[in-house]
């Protein structure tokens, strides 16, 4: 089932008339993982902002094929200083319950929270402070926080950057699990070619000369300026 289609998308800098990219075509189906790749500064975050409806396109359209009110969960690369007033991981993830008039969680919400924490392998450390968690555990907590709102599309912005291999795969395995069990589509911005090749279905490569979209097997990594397995 098609979730999102980008048709002839073009984004232009407002001031100097330079195009970031033009004629970008792609689509995202349910339960698919799309890797959004390209060199630094090419405009991946800008496209993400356009997909989230926070930025207008200069040309083309982004069609929400299945549902107009697409729920998009965004997992940013950086959070504000969570060490200042560190919460327990369960409380931190629960911050996502930000609608409704009840100050406390309903039983269904508590159960959903437990379930999400469980799927992210955070149950054991749910009552630990988030600032004392390892990098991988923190990333899983950020991921769980986005999953609370039951998104249709999850956008991961460099989620595996700064993680060691064990933590990277632990995180992506959780993403895969959510994808399989919650009918989730994922857009993954990443420079980590190992992860991209291992976990995504399709790729969208952005560059000023033109965009490329296709199955991950077709991705020619030499096209990326900083391509290579050991890229950081």
């Amino acid at each position: 089932m098609r979730i999102l289609t980008g048709k002839d998308v073009g984004i232009q800098f407002a001031d100097n008339k330079r195009w970031l990219y033009r004629h970008v075509d792609f689509h995202l189906d349910s339960s698919q993982i799309l890797a959004l790749v390209g060199d630094n500064g090419v405009g991946k975050t800008t496209l993400i902002r356009a997909i989230m409806g926070q930025r207008a396109l200069t040309e083309g359209e982004l069609v929400r094929d299945h549902a107009q009110d697409l729920r998009i969960g965004y997992v940013p690369q950086y959070h504000d200083d969570i060490g200042a007033f560190p919460l327990h991981i369960a409380d931190f993830v629960g911050l996502s319950y930000d609608r409704g008039l009840l100050p406390w969680l309903r039983r269904s919400e508590k159960e959903h929270l437990e379930h999400v924490l469980n799927e992210a392998n955070l149950t054991e450390i749910a009552n630990e402070r988030i600032d004392r968690a390892s990098g991988g555990e923190k990333q899983r907590a950020f991921l769980a926080q986005a999953m609370i709102q039951d998104p249709d599309v999850l956008i991961l912005d460099e989620a595996t950057a700064n993680l060691d291999n064990v933590a990277k795969f632990a995180l992506m395995d959780v993403v895969k699990h959510y994808r399989d069990h919650h009918d989730l589509s994922v857009i993954m911005v990443s420079h980590d070619l190992d992860i991209v090749e291992r976990y995504s279905d399709n790729y969208l490569l952005l560059s000023p000369d033109g965009a490329e979209f296709g199955p991950i097997a077709d991705l020619d990594t030499s096209k990326l300026e900083e391509g290579g397995r050991d890229h950081v």
């Binding site: 940013p76 504000d80 007033f85 919460l87 911050l95 930000d98 609608r99 100050p103 950020f142």
Partner: protein, 260 residues
Amino acid sequence: MFNYPFMQNAYVVGTLIAIVSGFIGVFVVARSMSFLAHVLSEIGFAGASFALFMGWSPLLGMLGFTLVSSASIGQLDMGDERRSESTVSAVSSVAIGLGIAFLALSQKNASSATSILFGSIFSISHANIVQVIILTLAVLLVGVVLYRPLRHVAFDHATAVDSLPYVKMVDVVFLVLMATTVAVSAQVVGSLLIFILMTLPASAAMRWGRRVSHMIGLAIIFALVGVWGALALSYWTNVPVSFFIAMIESMIYFASTAAR
């Protein structure tokens, strides 16, 4: 002590003010807005002096000035934090200057100035009591109703802006709640020492608490201990309430820092 109506009134008003300061204080500290709270209290001072000059109730003058300023601050997009600190300092200077001017112009005696600056909970008028009760209950009601979005915005701003479509409205409402809390808290501790009730109990509580609900609960308890203790000690010794609140709250804060 409790046979006197003025003490009964002081405890009722003081209790409500402590609860609301502890509650709102946690969000103020979480969002690093303590400096803004300080400036709002100085603007409140200007408002109270202006009201005195015009012959109005100082509380209403304070409320008017703080509400207008916080609503305006909400409209400004505070980009660079360092620049915004300087802007806020400049606003603060204007406020203090105006406050001093109005006090001088109103030619009231020194005790009016003292009560605005340092609090006047033992001499609070009946009308003021009713106003404080209504305002604190209103703030608590809005705070409870908006608890979920406020909590997300305060403790994880990065994801809150994407999650809440109406996040700017939440910000403005929060500023209004802050302004109102500052104006009512000034009745107890005076506008000079607002931060004692707004930021100290919350800062101490946030060293202990690991869930937002616990932080708020503890902040309220710390604020109540301070206010109740200070009222009693002030009654017995005739030394101003603000002094005792300052001492009690700082002791609680330093003890919390040492223990955690």
